[in-house]
């Protein structure tokens, strides 16, 4: 009989560290990665040799980028595995590190996400299966079509969907690790450079680089290494799924989100309306609208009115993307899912400073990736 993560031994987030997400620069991926890992080690107050395994999430960097980073911490000989899972690479690295600790194979494991923008081919385009015009349908157009579909189905205005960007830029302006750190008015957002459909540039995630590291540990590891248990955050659920054949073949991300989140809610025993924090894959504004509904945080067709009522603001019923989300904090691909875990851990510890959501006890991290795949984690303090 297979078991969920919750049925294995408890796993805790004990260390988080980031390199700011930023536009492509001369900073090497080694510097990006080391900055994040050293920050996570300092946050956990442990030394590198206590880490027993490492999972490195990346989607753009070439083969085997992990050891060229980690050797500069002192080459301890630990197993290093690389995880490529498109946008969900970091989330998947986190899941694997959690499973390793939960299974008892390691007491302390590192998940590191690191990437730099570079041109890569997608395997999807190399299958030999033809397509009518996929070269003309970039991700922003895929989601612009879904935005048009949502607006028609629920009779909402595109300006209302853009309110997601107003909120997330406002949150990101308070996040020192965010790529965009500037509040924006709705007029500024709507008046920006036109991209596709009704999307303007500030409604789309920026392309960038960065790194995020999360250290997870067992209770044995926490005791043995003298890690502050009061700052440890329990991983209450881990779920991953991939796309099945759907009736609406274009809304697979929302369908997958619903299915994966339901598994995580069941595993954790936490209901969607009990969540204090949600970090989700808002690469484009309409995604936040679709996914909060798919997860059951609000009813179908209700997201816009809830957003307008401030329910998803920091200080509202459930803070959605308090980090700024992918729209403002950025989406360097490999790090993104781990940056979400770092933000949730910071919020649940009450250490999020000016963007603290008061009294946060539970948080959910969600990423979808090309494929399509979906990963959901629930953290609890």
């Amino acid at each position: 009989m297979s078991k969920s993560l919750k049925e294995l031994r408890p796993v805790y987030v004990v260390g988080i560290g980031l390199h700011r997400y930023q536009f492509l620069s001369d900073t090497t991926y080694v510097d990006l990665g080391l900055t994040a890992v050293r920050a996570a080690l300092a946050d956990a107050n442990i030394e590198w040799p206590t880490v027993e395994s490492a999972y490195v999430g990346r989607a753009l960097l070439p083969m085997a980028c992990g050891r060229p980073i980690l050797r500069h911490l002192g080459a301890t000989g630990i197993p290093i595995a690389h995880i490529e899972n498109a946008s969900a690479s970091g989330s998947t690295a986190f899941r694997q590190a959690c499973i390793e600790v939960a299974s008892g194979t390691s007491d302390v494991s590192l998940a590191l996400g690191v990437d730099k923008p570079m041109a890569i081919a997608r395997a999807e385009g190399l299958t030999g299966i033809g397509n009518l015009a996929d070269d003309a349908i970039a991700p922003f157009t895929h989601f612009a079509l879904l935005a048009d579909q949502y607006a028609t189905q629920y009779g909402v205005r595109h300006e209302d969907i853009a309110l997601v960007a107003v909120k997330n830029h406002r949150n990101g302006a308070k996040n020192p690790f965010a790529q965009h750190q500037k509040e924006r008015t709705l007029d500024e957002i709507l008046g920006g450079k036109k991209i596709s459909g009704t999307f303007t540039s500030l409604q789309c995630t920026p392309v960038g680089e960065g790194a995020a590291a999360v250290i997870v540990a067992s209770e044995d590891g926490i005791k043995r290494l003298g890690i502050a248990a009061s700052r440890a955050v329990r991983v209450a659920a881990s779920a991953g799924r991939s796309q099945k054949v759907n009736i609406d073949a274009t809304r697979y991300d929302a369908v997958l989100t619903k299915e994966t989140a339901e598994i995580a809610f069941r595993e954790s025993g936490i209901s969607p309306r009990a969540l204090d924090i949600v970090e989700l894959h808002d690469a484009f504004t309409v995604e936040e609208i679709e996914y909060v509904e798919a997860m059951g945080i609000c009813g179908e067709g209700e997201a816009i009115s809830r957003l307008k009522d401030g329910e998803f603001d920091i200080g509202g019923r459930c803070a959605v993307s308090p980090s700024g989300g992918l729209i403002s904090m950025g989406h360097p691909i490999g790090p993104t899912g781990l940056g979400q875990i770092a933000e949730i851990a910071r919020q649940l510890r009450g250490e999020a400073g000016p963007r603290q959501h008061a009294g946060a006890r539970t948080g959910l991290a969600h990423m979808v990736g090309v494929g399509a795949v979906c990963y959901v984690h629930i953290l609890q303090k």
Binding site: T127, I129, G130, N131, L132, A133, D135, A136, I137, A138, F140, T141, A144, L145, L146, D148, Q149, T152, K193, K194, I195, S196, G197, V245, D248, A249, T250
Partner: protein, 135 residues
């Protein structure tokens, strides 16, 4: 004078389908399990895994689900702006490709296929499939 060749003859043909003889058919596939799909492939059925897949000509008519005017395009083979449409074919699958022309379209509109002249990388004139609103 003969008509130019098709740009992607594996994906569509000038003749219509049994279900819609009046517009160019899309060439999809069907499995014994009932799954009908586009684009065509012979690797195995996405729904059930069977390998007994047959080619099926799909109707060149359907309903518009959504459209997006694309203002930014990185590729060199097309020039923005252009419009992408998402159409649910009467035979089931959802397909996305370019709209022919600049007519305003709205979700729910009836759409049909047509072949339009395009120039390939070598400068040859070919026909490619597009959608237009049904008159």
């Amino acid at each position: 004078m003969t008509a130019p060749d098709l740009l992607k003859p594996a994906l569509y043909r000038a003749e219509g389908s049994d279900t819609d003889p009046d517009h160019p058919a899309l060439l999809g596939g069907a499995c014994e399990c009932g799954h009908v799909f586009f684009p065509p492939q012979t690797y195995g059925c996405e729904r059930c895994g069977r390998m007994s897949l047959a080619t099926r000509a799909l109707s060149g008519a359907g309903k518009l689900l959504a459209s997006a005017r694309v203002h930014l395009h990185g590729g060199k083979t097309r020039a923005a702006p252009f419009t992408i449409v998402s159409v649910r074919l009467d035979d089931g699958p959802i397909v996305r490709t370019l709209l022919a022309g600049d007519d305003a379209v709205h979700p729910g509109d009836r759409m049909v296929t047509m072949l339009v002249p395009v120039t390939n990388a070598e400068g040859a004139e070919l026909l490619d499939l597009r959608f237009v609103p049904q008159r």
